[in-house]
C-alpha cells in the first residue's frame, strides 16, 4: 500500500507536526488553570446588561488582591481569576461587584489551595506515565504470539511512541489556543488527554491486530511474504474502519463543541485534535515504524 511505500514521507510529516507542537509549547508556554496553581475563579453574571470590563477591573483592583485577570464569558458575565481568597475577601468582592440595581450573581466560585493544585499536577503526570507503562505491557502481551519478524515488545513500544505523538500534538495546539484565546490547562484537559490515549491505543491495536492475523494466516498457508507487504495489506484492510470511526467520533465532538456547554468546549476541541492525531498515528506512523524497524534491525 502507498502508506508503506511512502512511509518516509508520512513519518516525516509526523515528525514535523511533532516538532511544531513542541516548538509552540516552548514558544508560547502553557497556561495552567487554578486547578494546578491554586487560586480563586469567580464566574459571575448580571441581572441587567453587564458593566464594562474596565469597570469591573477597576473595582477588583481597589481590593488590592495582587495580580488578577478579568475576561468576558457568555453574554452577561465575566470570569475573574485571583489568588486564593478567604471568605471575607470573597464577600468583599461580591459586595463591590454589585452595581446598585444591577445585581451580581456568583454562578460559580471555585477556590483551590496551592497544596491541592500541586498534588493534581503530580497526579496528572503520574496517570499519564502509569497508563503508558501499562499499555506497553498490555500490547506486548496481546501480541505475544507475534514474535517474528518483529518481537511483540516492539509493538508495545511503538504504540507508546504513537501515544506520545497523540498527546504532544493536542498539547501544542493548546499552547497556541492559550496564547491567542487564553485557554487554560485544567483538570478536563488532563481527562481529554487520557481519553485520547484510550482512543488512540484502541485504534493502533486494531491495525496491529490485522497484521497479526495476516502473519498467522501466511504461516498457516505456508506463504512467504515480505513483512512490508503484509503490513501494507493490513493497512488497506483497516484504514476505512479507522477513518470511519474517527469521523463518527469527530461528529460527536463537533456537536459537543458547537452546541454543548461552555465548560466542555475546550475539552471537545482537545479531543478532536487528539482523535485526528490518533488516527494519523495509527495509520501513518505506527505501521510504517514497524516496517522501518524490521528493515533496519530485524532483517533476518
Amino acid at each position: 500500500m502507498f502508506v508503506v511505500h511512502y512511509k518516509n514521507i508520512f513519518l516525516g510529516i509526523g515528525v514535523l507536526l511533532l516538532a511544531a507542537a513542541i516548538g509552540s509549547i516552548a514558544f508560547f508556554g502553557l497556561r495552567y488553570s487554578i486547578d494546578f496553581t491554586g487560586g480563586t475563579l469567580l464566574e459571575i453574571s448580571y441581572t441587567q446588561e453587564r458593566p464594562s470590563q474596565e469597570n469591573v477591573q477597576s473595582k477588583v483592583e481597589n481590593l488590592a488582591l495582587g495580580s488578577f485577570s478579568v475576561r468576558a464569558s457568555g453574554e452577561d458575565g465575566y470570569i475573574i481569576r485571583t489568588r486564593d481568597l478567604n471568605q471575607n475577601e470573597l464577600d468583599a468582592v461580591t459586595e463591590l461587584l454589585t452595581f446598585e440595581e444591577n445585581i451580581v450573581s456568583m454562578d460559580r466560585v471555585t477556590t483551590i489551595g496551592p497544596s491541592l493544585g500541586n498534588e493534581l499536577g503530580r497526579k496528572a503526570l503520574f496517570a499519564l506515565l502509569a497508563l503508558s507503562f501499562v499499555i506497553v505491557f498490555y500490547v506486548a502481551y496481546v501480541f505475544r504470539r507475534v514474535s517474528k519478524p518483529v518481537p511483540s515488545i516492539y509493538y508495545g513500544l511503538i504504540v507508546v511512541l504513537a501515544l506520545l505523538h497523540d498527546i504532544i500534538i493536542p498539547t501544542g495546539f493548546f499552547a497556541i489556543m492559550g496564547y491567542y484565546f487564553g485557554a487554560e490547562i485544567d483538570t478536563l484537559f488532563v481527562v481529554a488527554l487520557l481519553a485520547i490515549l484510550g482512543y488512540s491505543v484502541n485504534d493502533t491495536i486494531v491495525v496491529f491486530d490485522r497484521i497479526r492475523e495476516n502473519i498467522a494466516s501466511n504461516i498457516e498457508r505456508n506463504v512467504k511474504e515480505e513483512f512490508e507487504i503484509t503490513v501494507g495489506k493490513s493497512l488497506r484492510q483497516t484504514y476505512l474502519r479507522s477513518i470511519n470511526t474517527s469521523i463518527t467520533t469527530a461528529i460527536a465532538l463537533l456537536a459537543l463543541f458547537f452546541l454543548g456547554a461552555g465548560v466542555t468546549e475546550n475539552f471537545a476541541l482537545v479531543l478532536l485534535v487528539g482523535v485526528v492525531a490518533g488516527t494519523y498515528s495509527s495509520l501513518f506512523l505506527a505501521a510504517p515504524l514497524l516496517v522501518l524497524l524490521q528493515k533496519k534491525i530485524f532483517k533476518g
Partner: protein, 437 residues
Amino acid sequence: MITKIFGVVVVTAGILLSGFVYISEKNGGPFPLAFGLDLAGGTHLIYNADTAALDERERKESLIALREVIERRTNLFGVAEPLVQIEESSFVAETREDRLIVELPGVTNLSEAVRIIGETPLLDFRVEDSTAALDAAEEDRYVSVGLTGRFINSAELTFAGGGHSGGLSNDPVVLVNFNTEGSDLFEQITRDNVGKQIAIVLDGAVISAPVVREAIAGGTASISGGFTPEEARDLVRDLNFGALPVPIELISTQAIGPSLGKAILEEGAIAGAFGLMLIIIFMVVWYRLPGVVASLSLIFYIALMLLMMKLIPITLTAAGIAGLILSLGMAVDANVLIFERMKEELISGKGVKDSVKDGFTRAWLPIRDGNISSLIAAIILFWFGTSIIEGFALVFALGVLLSMFSAITITRVLLLAVAPKEVGKMSRALFGSGIKL
C-alpha cells in the same frame, strides 16, 4: 425464521427500554438520574484535617468521629442529602494529608455553607507545660493530652449563682459530660496533674485554666470564664451537635449556582441529540441497511447507558455528559469493524448470512483487545479521580462495555434477522456499499 423472531424481540425490548428510561425521568418517576453538584447547584468544600500529632489508631478514630460530627451538623441545618467523606491525599502528594470532603447540594451560598461547617467547635483540654517559657503566649503554655471534643457525650448550661460563689453573680457555666472513655481519661489527667493548671481551649483560645485540686471522677467538667449567656447557650448547642476531634482548615471551595447547571444540561442534551442524528445519517448513507441496524443498535445503547446510570447509580456531571456524547461517536466503532469485515467476506464470495456470521467472529478479537485498552485508560482515569474525573471515567468505562455488548448482541441479532438468504440484486444494494459482487 428463528432469526426474525429474535429480531422482533430485540426491537420490542429496545422500545420498552427506551420507554422506561423516558417515563422514569418524568416528574416523580422511579430511578431519576442523579445529577452532580455542577449540574444541580451546590457547594463542594475540601478541608484539611490536622492529624499530624496523632498515632495511627487515634488518627483513624478521630477521622471517623470527624465525619460523624460534620454529617450530623449538615443534617441539623437541613441540608438534603449531604455527602461527607474522608479521603487521604494520594501517594504522589508531597506530604500525607487527611481531607474532609463535604458536598452540600442545594446550598449555593458559599459563606452560608462555610458557616455551617465552620461553627463546629474545637474543644481541647490541655495541661500546663512546665518547660514552656514564662513569656510564651497563653496558648503555648499548655500541651495537648488527647482529651478533645471527640470524647464529649453532651453539654448543658447552668448558672453559677447563689450557693457556690456566695456572690450574686449569675455567671453561665457550661457542663461537659464525657463518654466512658473520656471520663477515664479526664480522671487520669486530673489525678496526674493535681496542683497544676488544666486549660480549656476552645477554637484555639484558652477560655479558662483552673487549677486541679483533686482527681475528678464522674466524667463531668465545667467550663466557666466570662461567657455571656448567649455565648454559653450557643456553645452548649454546638457541643451537643458534636465537637471537632481535630482542627480542620478549608483548602478548597466550589459553589455553583443553579442556573449554570441547568444550562449545561440543556446544551448537553441538544448537542447529544444533534450528534446522534448526524452519526445516524453518516452510518445509513455509508453502510446502507447495516447502517440502519447500527443506528438502531446505537439508540439501544443510549437507552441502556441511561438505564445503567439510573440503576447503579452513576452521578451525572458536566464531564459525564461530555463523556456520554463522546461515547456516541466511539460506540459505533465495533459496528464499523464488523461491517468492514463483513464486506470482505461478501467480496470473497460468501452468502450474506455467512458473511454476517464470519464478520462477527473475525471482528471480535480486535474489538476485545482494543476495548480492553480503553478500559485500562478508564481505570487509571478513575484512580486519578477528583469527583469531576470520576464521573467521566465511570461513563467512559460503562460506555465501552455497553457499546461492545450492543454491537455483538443487538447488531448481530438484527443483522441476521434482515439478512436475505440469497445474494441477489437487492441484497447487493442493501449490504454492499462500495463493493462489486
